[in-house]
Each structure stands twice: as structure tokens, then as C-alpha cells.
């Protein structure tokens, strides 16, 4: 079926970081081109170089490195070897035995000499670079020092999400490390548009009906031009602009594509966006009883009155005070209220302040609210059966 094939194609594209980041391969100013230029020059000039790739998590640093290395391997199959190290695994302090760390350092230096003699270049990829900069930085020092001799040909690529990674280096290591940095910033609006088109447009030559392909692509174009889609995209990018985040959003949308129509619609994207906006505590409030809501509102009032610590008994006093003032019909006995209180504790909407008073009874242990006033407010608003008095009590505290 064509629609199934299309869906499978889109999903496989989204899951392949190489495909996603290949969008920017052709533009001159992209990080891909800069990195490739640097490595190719180092190999052809047979000199040593080092570079740091910095950027928030999910911005595609390792993906770009992989793309560049793949291209280089196809162009120069015999003159490159790649060694990958990860700061979580290989940094000095994480070794159980000191001996193995020195073996590793010794191994790397020997590899450098070997490859230098045989005119091969080694490319070291150091992931989580900032973790290598902990402790005595021996590995980094030995590696960079070995690169200062003419007999080695190596390129060191450090990848880190800490933007001040090079400030963490000791001064002698920093002196040997060149200052080159490539920043991975979140893509601009035009780049996002290019990315979406690259991923979502179906190609014409993979055996699908051309009419279907044309219809699919024109629908995508309509969606991309729709103002509501722009708003959804903005609200996602304003929180996290990394490409990874965008790809996850697209994946959810694409997976919810209806197979009968075979076309993506704005509803798919809206549904995916809703998943981002889940507020679990507000959702829990929808299943809470009215008495429990009363208790929560009372606790909120006590907190607004700046009572630093209060317990069940003080909440009850407040509860009774409300009933006297407003003469409501929801006046329950203490024992019933205690049951409601325990429910709230189980659901973790309220909690004890500390664990010290475990052997005291529930009524006198200090408690606190575990949801924010805003979430409580949203919960009250969303309950159609919520008594108006509660809303009024809430607004009265000028929660704004």
C-alpha cells in the first residue's frame, strides 16, 4: 500500500540522524562544511589540529561528526582511522584500576606513532569532553603533547555541551589545544523551514503513485504555510530549539497520520503538540473529590497567610472557619476529612515537610502543598462540578 510505504519512509528518515542533518550539507556556512574543510586540510597538509564542537544537547554535534567521517572514509579509505573515546567511560577518575588508564594512554601514543610512520591520520573523537577535563587531565595532556611532535598526524575533535569547556582545561593543556571552536546554535526560521521540507516532502522516484505524491506534497506545503502551524512550531522552539526536539515532535505527528487518507493534516501536529503540554498534576486534580479540593484550597489559604508550618489540625480550623463564614453544605466530620487527607497524601498532592516525625500521628505532623497555586487554579477551573465558593475563595486571595 502506498500510504504505508510513505509512512515507513518518513519514519525511517526521522530516525536517521544522518539524513536529518544532511539538510545543511550543501550550505557553505554550515558546521558540516567547516568541519570537513578543517579535517581535509589537516589530512592533506599532514599537520595536527584540534577543534571543539560546542552546543546544547540534541543539536546534532555527534551527527555532524559522523556525517563528515563517513564522507571522508569514502574519499580516502586507507588514510584515516578513527578512535572514539567517551568522557563517561574513559576519563581518568572513572577507571577502576590506574593501570588500565595508563595502558590506554600508552596505547594511544603508540597508535599515534604507528600511524605517523605509515602516513595514516588518526581522528580522535572525544565525546563529553568536559568530563576529560576533571582531575589531573592526564589523558588530554599526553594526547595533546604527543601531537606536538612532527611524527604524528592526528586530529582531535572534542564534543561537549558545556560552552566553557575550554576554560576547564589546565593552562598547559589549553596552551597545546588550539582555540578553534564550532558553535552549534539552534536553527533559524529559514533553516527550520528547509529542514521540514527536506524531511516531509516525498520524493517522486521511489515507486509511489505520482498523483499521491503530488497530493501529499501540496498538503504539506499548505500546512507549512498555515499560521496556526507556525504558532505551534514557535511554542515548541521557544522552549527547546534543538533539532532533536523538533524531530521528536515530527515523529509523533507522522506516526499519528491516518492511513485511510494517507495525508498529514494539521490535527496530527496539534495532537503531537498537546503531548508536550501535559500537566500531570492538573490531570490528577480532575479525579479528586470535592472535599479534597476544599482541603487543598484551605492549605493554599494558610500558605498565603504565610503560616510557615501547619498541620491537619490547623487545616481543619480553617475549614470550619470557612463554613461558618459562608454557611456551605459541605461540612463533614473530622474523621471523613482525615480520610480525604490521607488520599491526598497517597496521590502526592500534599506531603510531609520532613521525615522526622514519623512516629507522631498524622494530625500533628507538618505538611505542605506539592502543587503550585497556578496548577490548583487550573484544576479548579477545569472541574465543571466545582462549587463556586471554592473559586471565589481562591480568587479572593488575589492569586495573580
Amino acid at each position: 500500500m502506498d500510504t504505508e510505504k510513505a509512512l515507513a519512509l518518513l519514519r525511517s528518515r526521522l530516525y536517521d540522524p544522518n539524513y536529518v542533518h544532511a539538510t545543511f550539507k550543501s550550505s557553505e556556512e554550515s558546521n558540516y562544511c567547516k568541519l570537513k574543510f578543517l579535517i581535509m586540510n589537516s589530512i592533506s597538509d599532514s599537520c595536527n589540529n584540534s577543534i571543539l564542537l560546542l552546543g546544547p544537547r540534541g543539536s546534532g554535534k555527534v551527527a555532524v561528526v559522523d556525517l563528515v567521517l563517513e564522507d571522508l572514509k569514502t574519499q580516502h579509505p586507507d588514510s584515516i582511522s578513527v578512535i572514539r573515546l567517551n568522557g563517561l567511560l574513559h576519563s581518568d577518575d572513572n577507571f577502576a584500576l590506574k593501570a588500565s588508564s595508563d595502558d590506554n594512554a600508552g596505547f594511544m601514543i603508540d597508535m599515534l606513532k604507528e600511524c605517523g610512520l605509515s602516513h595514516k591520520s588518526i581522528i580522535f573523537v572525544l565525546d563529553e569532553f568536559d568530563l576529560f577535563a576533571q582531575g589531573k587531565q592526564r589523558l588530554l595532556y599526553s594526547l595533546l603533547d604527543a601531537m606536538q611532535t612532527v611524527s604524528s598526524q592526528a586530529v582531535v575533535i572534542g564534543v561537549s555541551c558545556r560552552l566553557d569547556a575550554d576554560q576547564l582545561l589546565e593552562k598547559r593543556v589549553r596552551s597545546r589545544f588550539s582555540h578553534r571552536k564550532l558553535l552549534f546554535v539552534p536553527p533559524s526560521r529559514e533553516d527550520v523551514r528547509r529542514l521540514l521540507e527536506h524531511i516531509l516532502y516525498l520524493p517522486k522516484d521511489i515507486g509511489l503513485l505520482s498523483k499521491y505524491v503530488a497530493e501529499f506534497n501540496s498538503k504539506i506545503q499548505d500546512i507549512l504555510n498555515d499560521k496556526k502551524f507556525q504558532e505551534i512550531l514557535d511554542s515548541i522552539l521557544f522552549i527547546d530549539g534543538a533539532i532533536n526536539n523538533l524531530v521528536q515532535f515530527l515523529f509523533r505527528a507522522v506516526s499519528s497520520m491516518s492511513l485511510e487518507s494517507g495525508l498529514l493534516s494539521l490535527e496530527n501536529f496539534k495532537g503531537s503538540h498537546l503531548c508536550y503540554q501535559r500537566q500531570p498534576k492538573t490531570q490528577i486534580l480532575e479525579g479528586v473529590s470535592i472535599l479534597e479540593l476544599y482541603i487543598l484550597v484551605c492549605m493554599n489559604r494558610l500558605e498565603c497567610k504565610e503560616q510557615n508550618s501547619y498541620n491537619f489540625n490547623s487545616v481543619m480550623k480553617e475549614y470550619k472557619a470557612i463554613h461558618e463564614a459562608y454557611k456551605t453544605s459541605d461540612n463533614y466530620r473530622d474523621s471523613v476529612c482525615l480520610r480525604a487527607f490521607e488520599h491526598l497524601l497517597e496521590r502526592e498532592l500534599i506531603g510531609f515537610v520532613d521525615n522526622k516525625g514519623r512516629n507522631l500521628s498524622i494530625e500533628i505532623q507538618p505538611v505542605k502543598l506539592l502543587i503550585s497555586p497556578h496548577e490548583l487554579y487550573l484544576g479548579l477551573k477545569s472541574r465543571s462540578s466545582c462549587p463556586a465558593i471554592l473559586q471565589k475563595l481562591f480568587d479572593h486571595e488575589s492569586f495573580r
Binding site: S44, H119, Y141
Partner: protein, 478 residues
């Protein structure tokens, strides 16, 4: 690709180079080309900038008669940046890994060290020397040269040349391993009882006359501060070996800290044998300029405009005086030129590296990317940074908790009429900022009471965000 020739061949190519006093600065006329000349590299000639040469220094090239012809016509080669071979040569010449034949600007220090070694040698007594200086000031390079001169001198004078051990202390698995390495290298382990430690064995040897073999021992310990342990024992013992009555052991230690000797070797001061301290000062602007020019002169053509080189030297001297940085900036400037020429189609053949290229290279290396990064953050993360600045201005303290920050954040969102994110999203945004090194979130048990500190200057944040219309209202209130 430049063919790799090992060091000895370079030395071979200038046989007379080391017989004169090695620490005299060579005049341009006596310039020896450090280039690894190859048969097909006709273009590379060792012409000084003023064009005069002394005889016999075009060595290693099989086509010397032809070169003589060129030399006499005094034609200087043109620098063609589009020629990849020339580009490669220039980059090689400016690479940190390419050692120069003669180390300029360190003549005085080299002379001092050499004199010290010679006097110890002639008096047959031990001595210790401590060399200190910032990274990139030529310590290891100079001492390597001194070692060569010393060996050469000992051959000339006709005494048995000393045993030399060069060790980089970062390669030791444990600090006391240095003694066993000494034993192995100096072949002193004969007669060693199996249960004495290497240090004890060394101490025995040096305190008794009968174990002497008559040879001097020279040891160069690089990055000596790796030997510092909590009780300073290893460093002490190492230097104390030079104070023993029959030791013929010269120790040269290299490190960055100027006061290492004072701080860690007080006992030696009491025994009146504190090591001689030689400081390698950071390079001044003139020195950096001289070193750069020396490297480029060897190429035979003008790659840089003089103003550009001087600007580079000035900038590097003002910040760190680290020659590696200067070389790096020059290489980067060449790459900027290369990238520029790739795009353009002008026919200008001789395009030198100008002031503008050096300026681009310097801004890339010295400019901190903080402002760019803040400007490229997603909007909510910028609001969080902004709210931190506001909070610290109102409350005059640097640290805050997640709950207070959230409150400040919601206020700003309200005033700019965007919807604030929920608490969970807010916590994850703060974690993302923590990962990037802009905030620091201390580990603490309670979720809302974690202490948060700002790691970036608040003036950087203000500067970065002031161009954005969205944030202009925030600053008006302050």
C-alpha cells in the same frame, strides 16, 4: 605531502652549525635553512630578506648550481596563495610541531643552563636546576637544544659523555616510579639487593665512592609538578640525591610554578643547596615578532604584511606571551585567506595575509562565545536568565532557589504577556542551562530548594539581550 625526515638528517645537513658558540644569535647573513629540502622543491630557497647569503648554506639540494644562478640574480620568489604546495609549506613552517633549527630569544637562558652543566661537569660535582615559566615559553625546546650542545661539547673536550635521561612526569604511573626508571636508564641496578627500594639503592650508590663508574648523569624531568604528593616526599628525595657526597648527578626540573622550589624544597634551603632557578619569562612583543619572522624568512617569500604580524605579536604578548597561540593565530589567518580566495574569482596572484585576516583570526580565538550563545538560546531560556539578573539586582545576592527564580520568571512572563511554562518544564529548562554551563545547580535533596548560581556575568546577559525588542521592557523597570 611533505616527506618525513627525522631529526638527525637535518642536523647532518648543516655540519658546521654547532661548532661555534651555540648561544650567539645568528645574524641574518649566516642563516641556515631549516627546511627539509627536497629535490623538486626548487621554489624554496633560503634567501634572507635583504638578499645576502654566506657561502655554503644551501645544503641538501641536488640542484645547487641552478640555485646559485637564481641567487645571483637576486630575484625574490612570489607568494602565490592559490598554489597548494606553497600553502602547505607555509602552514608547516608555522605549525607548533615544527621545531626551528635555532631557538631564538632564549640565548641568555640557554647560555646559563649550559654554563651550569659545564661547571658541574668540570668540577665533577652534582647540582640541581629548576626551570620555570608559563606554558608556551620555550622551556622544553631550549633544554632539548642545551642537551644537544652539551653532548657535542663533551665530545669535543674528549670526556666521556654523560648519560642523559629525559622523562615527562605525566607518563609515570606512580610518583616513586621515577627512581626505578633512573636505575634502569643509568644501569645502576647491578648489585642491588632485592629488598631495597629503588630510592634506597640510589641513595646507597651516591653515598659510597666505590660504586662510581666515573660518568656524569644528567636527568631532565619535565612537568615536574606531577611529582608533588601530599607529603612532598618524592620531590624532596629526588633533589636530595644531588646533595649526597658522591653523587655525580645533574638534575634539571621543568614546571610552570615559579615558587615550586620555595614552597616544596625548604629542607634543601637549610642544607644550603637550593636549586638554581631560571625563569623563562613570557615572550614580549618584539620576541614574538622575531620568532615569527624567523620562521617565515626560511620560506623565502613574503606571506604576511608587516603590520599584520606586528598586530598579532602585540595582541598575544598582551594576553599570555604564549608562542603557541601566536603560531596558531597566524595559521588561522592563512586559513581565512584561503577560504576567502576559494570563493572569489579575482586574478590577484599575490594576495598577502593582511591585518584584516589576522583580526578575524584573533577575534575567533579570543572572543568568548557567551554573547552569541545567549542570543541564540530559545526564548524561555533567555527569559530565565533575564529573571535571574533581575532577581540579583533586587535582592543583591548571587544565589537563589528554583522557587524564587520561578516566581521572578512568572512575573516577567506576565509583563511581556507570554504564557509561562509549568514547573516541570521550568525545572528541565534550568537543567538544560546547567548542562550548558550558564547556570550552576547545586545538588540538594529538596526539589525546590536547590541553590542556583549564575555562571555568566550579568552584564554579558544584559548586553546580549538588549538588542532584542522583546526584552526591552524588562530593562526599563530596573
Amino acid at each position: 605531502m611533505v616527506p618525513k625526515e627525522s631529526n638527525p638528517s637535518r642536523k647532518r645537513s648543516s655540519p658546521g652549525g654547532y661548532s661555534e658558540s651555540p648561544c650567539k644569535a645568528p645574524s641574518p647573513g649566516k642563516w641556515r635553512s631549516p627546511r627539509r629540502c627536497n629535490g623538486n622543491r626548487d621554489e624554496v630557497r633560503s634567501v634572507g630578506e635583504n638578499g645576502n647569503l654566506s657561502n655554503g648554506d644551501l645544503i641538501g639540494s641536488p640542484k645547487s648550481p641552478r640555485k646559485e644562478l637564481f641567487r645571483n640574480s637576486n630575484q625574490q620568489l612570489k607568494w602565490n596563495p592559490r598554489d597548494p604546495a606553497q600553502m602547505q609549506t607555509v602552514k608547516h613552517a608555522l605549525h607548533v610541531a615544527t621545531p626551528p633549527a635555532i631557538v631564538v630569544c632564549r640565548e641568555k637562558e640557554q647560555k646559563n643552563i649550559l654554563e651550569f652543566c659545564k661547571s658541574c661537569f668540570q668540577q665533577s660535582k652534582a647540582g640541581s636546576l629548576y626551570v620555570c615559566g608559563c606554558p608556551g615559553t620555550g622551556k622544553t625546546l631550549s633544554i632539548g637544544k642545551v642537551k644537544e650542545y652539551f653532548l657535542g661539547w663533551s665530545k669535543e673536550v674528549g670526556v666521556p659523555s654523560p648519560d642523559v635521561l629525559t622523562i615527562n612526569c605525566t607518563s609515570l604511573t606512580s610518583t616513586s616510579e621515577i627512581f626505578s626508571q633512573m636505575l634502569v636508564k643509568f644501569e645502576l641496578s647491578k648489585g642491588k639487593a632485592t629488598n631495597t627500594s629503588p630510592l634506597q639503592h640510589l641513595q646507597d650508590i651516591f653515598s659510597q665512592k666505590k660504586h662510581q663508574s666515573g660518568r656524569m648523569l644528567l636527568m631532565i624531568a619535565d612537568e615536574m609538578d606531577y611529582l608533588i604528593t601530599r607529603d612532598h616526599a618524592v620531590l624532596h628525595d629526588l633533589f636530595m640525591l644531588t646533595t649526597l657526597p658522591f653523587s655525580r648527578f645533574i638534575l634539571i626540573g621543568i614546571a610552570n610554578a615559579i615558587d615550586l622550589a620555595d614552597r616544596f624544597l625548604q629542607k634543601l634551603e637549610a642544607l644550603n643547596c637550593k636549586p638554581v632557578v631560571i625563569t623563562f619569562r613570557a615572550y614580549s612583543k618584539d620576541q614574538i615578532l622575531k620568532i615569527l619572522q624567523q620562521r617565515i624568512m626560511a620560506l623565502g617569500y613574503d606571506v604576511f604584511q608587516p603590520a599584520a604580524l606586528e598586530y598579532c605579536a602585540r595582541k598575544v604578548a598582551a594576553t599570555s606571551g604564549d608562542i603557541r597561540k601566536a603560531l596558531d593565530i597566524c595559521r588561522c589567518a592563512i586559513e581565512v585567506l584561503e577560504a576567502e580566495l576559494k570563493g572569489s574569482v579575482t586574478n590577484k596572484e599575490t594576495e598577502k595575509v593582511s591585518f584584516h585576516h589576522i583580526e578575524t583570526a584573533i577575534s575567533r580565538s579570543f572572543k568568548s562565545p557567551v554573547v552569541d550563545i545567549i542570543q541564540s538560546l530559545p526564548q524561555h531560556q533567555q527569559v530565565i536568565l533575564c529573571s535571574f539578573v533581575r532577581l540579583s539586582q533586587h535582592c543583591k545576592k548571587n544565589a537563589t532557589t528554583l522557587a524564587e527564580l520561578n516566581r521572578s520568571y512568572s512575573e516577567i512572563c506576565k509583563s511581556t504577556q507570554i504564557r509561562p511554562v509549568g514547573m516541570m518544564d521550568f525545572a528541565s529548562l534550568c537543567t538544560a542551562l546547567n548542562d550548558q554551563g550558564l547556570l550552576e545547580i547545586a545538588q540538594s535533596r529538596g526539589d525546590k530548594s536547590k541553590k542556583i548560581k549564575l555562571k555568566v556575568d550579568s552584564s554579558d546577559i544584559t548586553f546580549a539581550l538588549k538588542g532584542i525588542r522583546f526584552f526591552q521592557n524588562c530593562w526599563c523597570d530596573d
